[in-house]
Subunit: 227 residues, 4 copies
DNA sequence: AATGAATGAGGGTTCATTCAT
DNA sequence: CATGAATGAACCCTCATTCAT
């Protein structure tokens, strides 16, 4: 048949992308069939190829776009934040809220890198590295200043990111704890794990405090909550 | 054909299991074909069915055996260790060394639960829950005693396990840092993250000390390494 | 969208035809896709249907137009040429020069008749038969007059046409031999193969001579040379 | 399902090859579908892959095996034949009888070289060149001895082979003319086309005589026919 | 005169699985 | 204990073609 009445390329493209993310998230890239995806958006499977080159590139597009979004939003969140501890807290705050909001994308970007072919995988890994570097830089800075007790910044970076990212494995928006509460708990864990004990912030109540109220930037807070 | 001279059912079964673990680890369950597996062990793909019921059950067998091994070894490692902090440290120590030694099994058990069908998945998840309970119990105990500043033991459990398990994504036996050094780093992170600051263990050197050398129990160390 | 500025139906039609000939020549009718063809002329594949009914009819149009051109030009070339030997030579001369000049069309007409559906194929075969008849008539005439030693004119016709047509499989305009030289060589082969030995024309030099100058039709000559 | 009762690999392989040759001959390589081929031999299309790697390699196998057969049989047919004219006649005789007997294989080898991918095509073309060389050598020999009036052996080779091969486009075993008669006709054409007129063999009867009945070697004839 | 969105059929190919031998 | 022949379903993908815009 010809063009379905009222069909619209941009709308279809968006629907494909969204359905693709959901299906890959739920079944895995290998296990998702293009027939499934097509029927989800009401197309014949062949018609998908108007919207991507092949299955691989659908995956890569999702991963790439996600990583670009992640990096640019992280940079925005940390922009203007000074000092190792505030920067660390800002990173933790951002990372958690982002991962709670975009479980599916995040899950895909973490789990399906393996399903990318070699060239695409290299690109994705490099983007991930750039993102991790933001945390590593904060840790190195804190270590240099003596604020952090971090002997191997790379190892700590991997450890912290693993810990934080894990939230997308079990977080549910309708769960008992709010995003703010979770952020506070994880912040305590992270900061407690790296902060030099002799240097203040020793009181538990204080530990997660700064994330609670940077009075100079209230708008940032509300943005994050919605994120 | 008759059997190859010297062929042996048990040996073949073991070869299949090992090759299966490697292939699933490298390519993923969905992406691994039974033809690949068969050729890896020098069989026709049809012959594999003497050794398992179907592809699903191969995966499940691997996951279940791994989880049973993990749990029983963890129990052995923590057997006789008293007090929240020592138990926490023992768990961290065990978990890390086990995950550094059995990357492939661990990776599969974590990533391919999604590829299990519903009944098998339920079993695997329940086993994982039992394992996680060991850590959660230590955290609850410490919280009750006031040694740990842990308001949500479940959340902290997930967070810590995610952090520790992440090591199997990048650890290489030939890397710069030894297993002991890595255990020390992660122990600092974990203990610092949960320990109540006002209560001792505040000196960094001490934090990871017990993992370094409890001189009264040197044999314990080497046991753990082998585990 | 509206039409591209300066676009022109007739010009597009010609471009499609030319690109179609080239693509069918290079890849074969079955292997050529209409997407390829469309992109070659800067259109969407659906737009091609303004210019032909379907892929079949594109092929048939090419074959039919080619055959009509071939036949009418052959008739023009032999018009006014008298006697079996001169007519035979004129045919050889014309056929070779035409086939050296229009490799692609000729190749298609010979190779892709098989790709035509039954009714179209019948038409094409009948046109080919009409063309071959011109040679067969010359052979029959020569046999009747005793100039040619041809017992089975049909067989000899097929044989000679096969031989001559074969030139389009390897001829290159930038090759070592000129069109005139090749015509001379093939003329020798054909005339030697059919001419009665006792009847003159035995000297090689003479054999191909008459093709050099039928003084009554100079314009025809120069056209051929350029062709 | 499992193995069909009474199924047999070698028999199936042969059936696939034969059906493949027929289908490619009738419809062309591109137009033949593997589903067609499979149903012709009573299989599912996927089962074909026990017998070839892919569609390309089926074609190549057919072409290669045919060319090897052609070359070895041609060498056998010309073995021990001395002198340019006898060798030329032997080649013509062999080529025609072979092409009348194996229309389908020959047709494929000539028409579907274009459907081979580049590496396979190169191999096929080289084999064809080796075969053509046998004729070219005979022509060169005759030209050197003065028996043949051949100025461009390569051109004459292409011309003669084209002429002879063309027979597979129209020959029918149940046609009016016998193989012997056709061989005689073509031999006259070829020998007349290349033989030096001043040097004997001028009498038509003689021209095709050896193909008719070399009374000293009647067995040779029948051997060739079977070849 | 041409686009852009879609179809539906079919392409080659791979897969887990079965079972007579 | 293992093979070797086969299945049937599904895979990703390409195709000629249609027609509202």
């Amino acid at each position: 048949m010809a063009r379905t009445i009222g069909s619209n390329g941009a709308r279809t493209a968006k629907a494909i992308r969204q359905a693709g993310v959901q299906l890959i998230y739920r079944h895995g890239y290998e296990a998702m069939s293009l027939r499934q995806l097509a029927s989800e958006v009401g197309l014949q499977s062949g018609s998908l190829y108007k919207y991507f080159e092949n299955k691989q590139s659908l995956l890569f597009d999702i991963v790439r776009d996600h990583m670009e979004d992640l990096i640019s939003k992280a940079e925005a969140a940390m922009d203007g934040v000074d000092g190792p501890l505030p920067r660390l807290k800002a990173f933790v705050d951002f990372h958690l809220r982002y991962h709670m909001t975009r479980k599916a994308h995040v899950f895909i970007a973490n789990m399906e890198i393996r399903s990318l072919d070699a060239p695409h995988r290299a690109v994705a890994i490099e983007m991930r590295r750039r993102y991790e570097q933001m945390l590593e830089d904060a840790l190195r800075l804190g270590a240099a200043e003596g604020a952090f007790r971090v002997s191997e910044p790379k190892v700590s970076t991997y450890a912290i990111i693993s810990m934080l990212t894990g939230i997308c494995m079990w977080y549910r928006p309708d769960g008992r704890l709010t995003q703010d509460e979770l952020v506070a708990i994880y912040t305590d864990l992270v900061v407690g794990g790296v902060a030099s004990p002799e240097r203040g912030a020793a009181k538990p109540a204080e530990l997660s405090a700064p994330a609670e109220a940077p009075p100079t930037a209230p708008s940032v807070r509300s943005r994050r909550v919605r994120a």
